[in-house]
Symmetry: none
Subunit: 229 residues, 4 copies
DNA sequence: TATGAATGAGCTTTCATTCAT
DNA sequence: AATGAATGAAAGCTCATTCAT
């Protein structure tokens, strides 16, 4: 994104379900479609939806600006390129999830409680921002090499923090160490990233249900004791 | 794929195996169908590698045929479209995985053994065909609506079979039913599909290692007994 | 067409209505679709239908051979090119119409009777071979320059013969010469060539009706006497 | 045509008026929209000439834009497709001819005078726009099904108006009704549409000559009285 | 007499981006 | 802060024709 613009787009729920993940930050809720928020905000919101729906490469800049009700000139005034729009979405998602994880990991309580809370929270957040989740796991390779590296590094830091809780529990004997912490983390986040391929808001389970079940599965898998044959 | 061609491409795993771009310069012309298998076979192999490396939309037909050492006309002689190439890859993967799962599920042994074997096998197979795995979870939305439906149906059948083992164990009391079988299955296959985002053949773990760990995590999560808080 | 093949395709009616213009030449009437007559005959028949339906440029050789139930190799065995197919159609039409006109023009009877018969006959024949008529007026420019010249020359001979009857009548005082014979002929054949744009076999008028009306209009326009203001 | 552009191209007749292929080499840049009218206007003019010369399918978009001295992007900025260009030509011709006929038909004077004037006028107009006339009768089937229907409907309205004059004369006894008015109209417009296949501006007759002769033939054919045998 | 794989040139269309205003 | 005409490169696909068999 071009320097000098503070955009701070609020998170938007998956495909139309407005489930703000951070409702406190929602300023004006009286926005008819097409004129909500500032121009860059609108562009980012529209791009997120379209990228999730049709994929980055199949979404044209023309379509984005038409849907946002602005012109190409306006878009190129705020963003360097179409890639920039995608990079901005990644930045926003990473920042949000990192912030939440840091708060939980540094909180009080036993490590199993903190890990459980973090595991459930990332599920709930991923569901609340299903479009972001879809884009995240599907469009990484469409980012520039430079930006891909940035994203991967940031992601690694996130995984490290999560992993440090697993290791803490293993060292304390609260979790089994039959499976290396690295693998546990990749195992779990694979499940989380794939939520967008099967979760439907109108379906049987709420985001909280799924968060609870996923956390349960993780914690139970880490229970010490004789392995299941 | 156009009717009347039996292609039977064998699964190929890793990336980077070069295919001469200019087979005209190939002196050993004793191979009647080019430098590496028949033309459609070569096209499918090359397309798999390129789609996994760069994504479907970023791989041009020109690039595919140049790499396979044929012309566009030849490609369109065997395949209806670029989409058809992708569809063929999906068909091949689905058939292979379904066949393996059916064999394992109908085998002898306790349900926990069969589930564990199936869980490990799908990991090993996914790693042996990492390109296929990458394409599978990333390119579904680039298939035609019709073909997408077919793939999803076939995939559902696969999940059903896997789920039936989970349920069998839950009813027998071998597995806990704290988490619904549906969610267990989606949880596990999320992890499996995402193997391609982190697994590196040159890394610390063999495919069998990972298969063992993943199966272990699944079975342990299903162990009956008091839940971990 | 390649030398050495006698094809002698019988005329076929417009779009499915088998109204052979020259029924005496029809040898075998027991032909299931797809195997009627010799290969070149079938190709010509199929090409005629498709060229009339979709236009020359929009009909692919593949489509022609598929419909005729043969392969491309077979087609190129009998015809030099796709253009050759079209040229053959023109040759056939021209020959047929010229033969008929020569017979009528050299017959007995008053010039007005002969002109009327010729005028009606060309209408009936054009309707009986509506596909040919459609192709004739629409595809001339798709012929090679060489073949175009041939067709135009042949056409000129045909017009000359028709015109000679008009002039004969004008000189005999049976027809008015208010309008030059040249223009009368172009005027009339414009109407005839356009039959294929409006005439429908299932419609109100039979081919004979239209032939009668067209001949009537021509003869009445040529009646001597005070002009209509 | 894309919404929002008013093009209003004036009708152009003969062929061969060259348009510089390389307007970049045009020093007189005071004309803000290129060397000859606005870009869409130029494209339409060039397309009309080329479609008439070589046929719609044999004229490539590349050829059109090169001749007009613009790029493909520019063309697709103003027109949805190559078909759209053709559709625009049809719209223009239909509108022009309808307007003229309406003016004449609703004018004063006896029906025979009005019919004669209309008959001569359509000839003169068709000759003044020979390219349009060529395209009109030859390319209808290359239009989209939707647009074809529109054109046919508009054409039917035109024919209806012309036919209403014939019927008016027949009912008044000024014209014979030996031949149904429907057939008279199709007969006459066949002749008119085919003008482009034989009329040459450099030839023996002026457009007015031909218009007079054609109208004469029509009116004389409609004269009441004993038919010519 | 016929096959059908393969060619290679050409087609229409899309699109991110620029730039004069 | 914003417009929208124009660019230029590349995309997917079609097709008449050839040729070894």
């Amino acid at each position: 994104m071009k320097r000098g613009f503070a955009v701070a787009v609020r998170a938007r729920g998956g495909r139309g379900r407005g489930t703000p993940a951070n409702p406190a930050a929602d300023p004006a809720a009286t926005d008819p479609a097409g004129s909500e928020g500032s121009v860059p905000r609108r562009l980012l919101a529209v791009a997120t939806r379209l990228f999730a729906e049709k994929g980055f490469d199949r979404t044209s800049v023309q379509e984005i600006v038409d849907t946002a009700g602005v012109t190409k000139g306006a878009m190129y005034h705020y963003f360097d390129s179409k890639d920039d729009l995608l990079a901005e979405i990644y930045t926003r998602v990473l920042r949000m999830q990192m912030t939440r994880l840091e708060r939980i990991a540094s909180g009080p309580g036993a490590v199993s409680e903190r890990l459980g809370e973090a595991a459930a929270d990332v599920v709930v957040t991923s569901i609340a921002n299903l479009d972001d989740t879809t884009i995240f796991f599907r469009s990484l390779h469409q980012l520039s090499a430079r930006k891909q590296r940035e994203v991967r590094n940031e992601r690694r830091r996130y995984h490290e923090l999560f992993r440090s809780m697993v290791i803490e529990g293993q060292q304390a004997g609260v979790f089994t160490d039959r499976v290396p912490a690295d693998i546990v983390v990749d195992f779990y986040f694979g499940s989380v990233h794939h939520l967008s391929t099967w979760y439907r808001p109108e379906g049987e389970w709420s985001a909280t249900d799924v968060g609870g079940h996923y956390a349960r599965l993780l914690l139970d898998a880490l229970r010490p004791g004789a392995p299941q044959t």
